[in-house]
Symmetry: D2
Subunit: 321 residues, 4 copies
């Protein structure tokens, strides 16, 4: 039951499901454990992430094979009546960063035997949740000290300019409800972005402005809104100001699949790691063979062979500095 | 009324519409004119290409401003009950190269005052029609001596491997008619490709094999079919053998838009020009700001400021060598 | 004899050679002409640019074929004891923007029958001079209204981060004179950049700081200097603030060669045009087959078939609005 | 003392140094061990590879931390009076593939307690040695069953066409001895390529043809030689015929650094993995942050955290299937 998420204009359910995976030794020990938080992507939920059992399989294999010492794994529900959280604070679509830091983490620390210290907290996630993981790392180094983002999106402006993107703006401008956008994931996504980064509580039905505004019935680039939305959504735009935060982290890594059907995500991640490099921020940044969805939760996949060893190297476990 | 196109298994209409634009001076002169043939793209027709009047506007402006001397412009109908011609000879989806060379060109030469010589014939087209223009140039230098392809596709394997492409193969494998693929342009396109390059007259309903074949109900990469389809469809694969043909041309040019929503087309064209370079084939190859659809038929656009001056430079006009 | 360039710490010659090409009709007419200014690249001079006669050939061919009405062509000498002007104002390496705007242009307007108005002045150049042309356009729309940059460099951070660039920093840090860097164009270039963007009049011998500073004898990334140098040198970093200036121009174009042996230049130009697009700034941006040096001053080359028609379209000539 | 390498025209020393690292437990056990062969790069030797001690450190750390069971590590000397082996059979520059397979491997199997079976032999290497590792895997699956190539080169034609490459061909054509090319690594390399792939025993001083041949004193593209040299040197050109061999391997992996100062290597590796994908060949292909030289032999580097776990997963060790 979130208090923070009450503040929104899109009908968010303030009862949030939280899925917690306790490691095999938890019940028989009195030890405290590090916690790995996971941000799921848009059009997903905490339940969907776990339903096919692959995620738990990978964790159990990793603990069995001593790839990493035991930890607690937490994934909250970041879904919404629109596309789901973009992991931002917005008066229209919810203050998701605040929810994570001020409600979720304290709740977990209270309910379970966690090591309640940044050195023992990691933030992870995939796709839009990868953006979430990086954003939380960039803004809350006092809470998390290790980050691993699996194929994050929105790390940069990408290959195709926003002005040249194919979006059905007319449909968006004419829609009276979000339901009218059903079946057009792209239109839904662009409305969610506008709600998060161009909120305008006085402009129903979506309570936001757009970077393509109607102009005599035709969509027309609004450069000021474009700049504002990019400044908020694209992580590279706040990288310079976040650099001191990132310098405090113990470990930073992200990876991405070469064959995302939206190559702009690939291009953006390549640009993002370059910017980190010139800011002198140590990190890992690997591009791998695969799609954003087919290599994470498999045997010897990205999580098992890359993310978990990385977390094991940088998180502080009990009895270890 | 095409005899050649009678041979097909997809229900082609053998009555083909041919649109001919005669230049302003044609009726009042006795001169003969060069002919520029244009290959339209899939999901289009000769009529659609002309219906908004922009094409004729550009030609008239160019003649008025002496950008190029007058010529005859011809666009035949290459549509089909599936997606339209891929500009190939196939026992299943039609022998379109033969139709063009053995029926269309002789027909035009018979009906109009053309200069009926390769030096005065150019082949042009856009998108899949750009592929057609290049393919005709690669195979019939005895008919055409100048080629300008506007944003051709299928010039190379592209950025995303076929094995990693997102296609609804299950739907294709289960479909009983082409109509069942309505609304899924990607599935339609991949069937058309299979019909052109993996024809199999004994396998209804589509009379073709696939590079993803069903394997216990799941699509599975069939590497032999993949190689065969790529060898046929992708122009770079036959470039080496076509090199002597291309060496005979008077002028070769193609261009492409940077912001094709399918960046694999951009990547392929970049690779194609490199291959031409190493084969020692002189040509122009420009990448421009725009999408494949928004720069061709406008004032000072690609056709007006790039293609027409190029054709004017290399075609032989009457009274000029 | 420049007054402005007296202020420098690298021994600039204040006598500057200015090459002026008057069009064929100049002497026999009383008309006034537009002026096209040209910025040459580093390691070059006004004299070198003209010495093989190709440049004048191209201009004469263009006038003869009425590709563009006649204009006056001016190229000043931007060479220096180091690598030449980077087209910036620096207390160490010279105030070159000021020299161009406050000395060169007024001098030309005084000596020749020019149309002394921004509508009839274009700024052009190649490579580092292409950067100069864009920089002057971004900062002085009151002087120039048309810009065409041939393969500009330093338009963005490029593919390889500065932190990962191969430069012999030890040699730079140990050098006592610029002459010690002879034969290492890369080292010379990086010193010139530091002199322009990290000037430090109190630090001989080069009077500048570096983004790799010596740290116990080893070069170490200095992130603050890196940010400062990038902010100054890379044009995309000041694009947002220059947008209102660029919006005032009549015509903006640049192009670049696909096969620059330093692909980071290609990558940067691709990123630069995208940024312009999202800022809503109309422009042309073509990538062509060639190197930065082999397509400009040839028959049917970039200058003849692209730059001059563009200038002709946007400059105001006498008797024409 | 190699018999095979006697056949050459460049003065190869037939006494070859072979460096063998025996694992810590070798002397105190009677076990047999898998063997990992390593191909060093051009301008290097077996001794240089080992001289700074980092390589042995990484191996010892890996054995100590049980990253991989113990194995024997072998690196032979592939240097030459020119640039070193390109890992090919050439009548001019030596039959290096034959040397490796018919002399080196049998010699090692005779001298040490190896598991003399393909299942327990891996071939590895970096840069040109990475090419060597892949080439040996593509041609000798009866000898090696696991391959890991660190930043291989020559896997494809790359970003810049050979015809547009900057090479001092005049110097090459005029040189009377290899020594005259001293200091120009690029010229040396291109001669070595020509000796390997365009051998011509009747044409001193280099006993080879070139893809840029002199033509009235000017270098001119020779397209037939270009095709022949590319077909031999570029691994992607023989990938289709090698596919059945690669299908027999237990494990295939390669990786590459994003910041190779020659980005054509990066581009080629990206194209190479795509081709493998469409041939249905399972493999790993990662692009990482770094240069080709700064991430291999460090703590948590590519060898320690990527290559050795991969070898451990696929090699057959004693008492393990």
């Amino acid at each position: 039951m979130s208090t923070i998420l009450k503040e929104n204009l899109i009908g968010l359910d303030t009862h949030r499901v939280i899925k917690v995976y306790l490691p095999p030794g938890y019940n028989d020990s009195k030890r405290s454990y590090p916690v790995v938080y996971y941000c799921h992507s848009i059009f997903s939920t905490a339940e969907k992430l776990l339903e096919d059992g692959k995620l738990v399989n990978v964790l159990e294999q990793a603990f069995a094979n001593k790839i990493i010492p035991e930890f607690i794994f937490v994934v909250a529900d970041y879904s919404s009546p629109t596309t789901g959280s973009l992991y931002e604070n917005s008066p229209v679509s919810g203050r998701w960063l605040d929810f994570t830091v001020h409600e979720l983490v304290p709740f977990i620390d209270k309910q379970f035997r966690t090591i309640s210290h940044r050195d023992s907290r990691a933030i992870t996630g995939d796709f839009m949740g990868g953006r979430g993981a990086l954003k939380l790392a960039m803004t809350h180094p006092e809470v998390f000290s290790v980050v691993y983002a699996l194929h994050p999106v929105a790390t940069g402006a990408g290959y195709i300019p926003w002005a040249a993107n194919e979006v059905n703006w007319k449909k968006i401008h004419q829609a009276k409800t979000f339901a009218e956008l059903a079946g057009d994931g792209r239109a839904q996504m662009f409305v969610a972005m506008a709600q998060a980064f161009l909120p305008n509580p006085h402009r129903p039905p979506f309570y936001c402005d757009f970077w393509m505004e109607p102009d005599n019935g035709e969509p027309k680039l609004h450069t000021e809104n474009t700049r504002k939305a990019q400044a908020g959504f694209l992580l590279d735009q706040s990288l310079e100001e976040s650099a001191p935060n990132l310098q405090q982290l113990r470990g930073i890594a992200f990876d991405w699949a070469r064959y995302d059907p939206t190559p702009t995500h690939v291009y953006s991640n390549q640009a993002f790691t370059r910017k980190l490099e010139d800011l002198g921020i140590e990190h890992e940044a690997e591009e791998y063979r695969g799609t954003p969805w087919n290599k994470n939760w498999i045997a010897n996949g990205r999580v098992y062979s890359r993310m978990l060893p990385f977390l094991g190297r940088w998180l502080v476990f009990e009895g270890k500095e």
